[in-house]
Symmetry: C2
């Protein structure tokens, strides 16, 4: 893994494409939106597209490709989705299989690419407003939990919403709600705050994904819909093959982070 | 007390002026901003103006008059502040004195009028979005509490912030935060949510002003800066005379409620 300074999505993608960057993308090319990737055979694409449209908080769609076309001109100049992420994870029949740095050997003419907004741009906005983000300060991954909130189903895609949790002082929780509401492409406003049990989370210290959270005395836990939700829906649908980004290794787009 | 349908601030003010309306103004002339009134001798006016500017959440200024001038052309056509509210309360040396329906007998050439935004327009916005407001549904006044949050002092004006509390389901609490943040003239975003003790409130069932709240199971209490704060600051400053609106009997302005 190498890291460096990248001023734009174009520069990050070029570094991924020629193998100079294979690490995480958190903090790179600040001001540009990063995206979760999901690649599916076209037989699944229509259902998955409807799933995203019906569940815009966990799955805010930034872009969708034509079948077999590795470009996504709506969200970035000259994107080659087969090579422009640092690392990919392959699922076969819903189970994790290989982890690869390009898709040259796997690409199919019926692959459709979906790019879904991620919370990095939201966290950048929090930090820019001097709102402490506990897991970043602690050098951990965000804590994520499977909830009892059911997503809207579409074909074989469905299942519970996965949320990420960030805790704040009450004052900062209020500011985080307002800020995130203005970033619908980064999951928007939270789906819950306060009592974790109300959305089926038994113990905040036992996240289903990510790291144990660092919750300060007096903090309010705030819960956002998470991009792991559509990934879980894909696993439940068990397509013969699906390709997603390796966690933290996102597509950096040319879209600017802007308050709506 | 009589009530009726009033389409605008002009109509409400005319009804107050000729004695047809002497009751509360909640729900009248929807879509128009209502304001708290504070009238002070000019010797206090500069300090109180700075107090409001330094504390925009409890005291969002809608308008301020010239000394002795009963009009406020910035916020309403032909306002006569001496007659355009349904009822006024007089304080002498910080203590409540008479309650009157006009100021003809009390007016002085050095009186300066301050009109401060109130939460009615915010509550209207909540109801319009189908967010239940517990105290309205229960036919009660909102519960208000003195906190341990000190306001910024200016001259003799200072003291603790008074907050109003509204409780919601977590989902509606998030929506109420977002909505209110877009209405800075109606006290804006909340100052606190969750644990009342964190801002010095020992018992939600014992409000300092207003009625006992109706809190549903699973509700999150949300706290907004309240227009009672500047009124308390005036009482602490003990001017020889100060005139405010009778609680709930506001000035209805020509300003539209609009999301900023």
């Amino acid at each position: 893994m190498t890291t460096g300074y990248y001023a734009s999505g174009t520069e990050v993608r070029a570094a991924c494409r020629d193998g100079r960057h294979t690490g995480q993308t958190s903090g790179l090319a600040q001001g540009f939106q990063q995206g979760n990737l999901a690649i599916l055979p076209s037989a699944y694409a229509d259902d998955f597209l409807r799933y995203c449209v019906r569940n815009p908080k966990p799955a805010p769609l930034l872009g969708v490709s034509e079948p077999g076309d590795p470009s996504l001109p709506q969200i970035g100049r000259d994107i080659d989705i087969r090579r422009d992420l640092p690392r990919y994870r392959v699922f076969r029949n819903g189970e994790p299989a290989e982890s690869v740095t390009d898709l040259d050997a796997l690409w199919r003419d019926d692959f459709v690419s979906f790019v879904i907004g991620c919370s990095f741009s939201f966290e950048t906005a929090l930090l820019r407003d001097d709102i402490p983000v506990r897991h970043i300060a602690a050098g951990r991954n965000v804590a994520m939990y499977v909830t009892n909130i059911e997503t809207e189903q579409a074909g074989p895609f469905g299942g519970p919403m996965v949320v990420s949790m960030r805790s704040f002082s009450p004052r900062d929780a209020i500011r985080a709600v307002i800020l995130s509401s203005r970033l619908p492409e980064a999951h928007g406003a939270p789906v819950h705050l306060g009592d974790p049990a109300a959305i089926g989370i038994a113990d905040l210290s036992k996240p289903d994904f990510g790291d144990v959270p660092d919750i300060h005395a007096g903090d309010v836990p705030v819960f956002w819909a998470c991009g792991v939700t559509p990934q879980s829906a894909i696993r439940r649908a068990r397509p013969e093959i699906a390709i997603v980004h390796e966690p933290g290794h996102m597509l950096v787009t040319d879209l600017r982070v802007s308050m709506s």
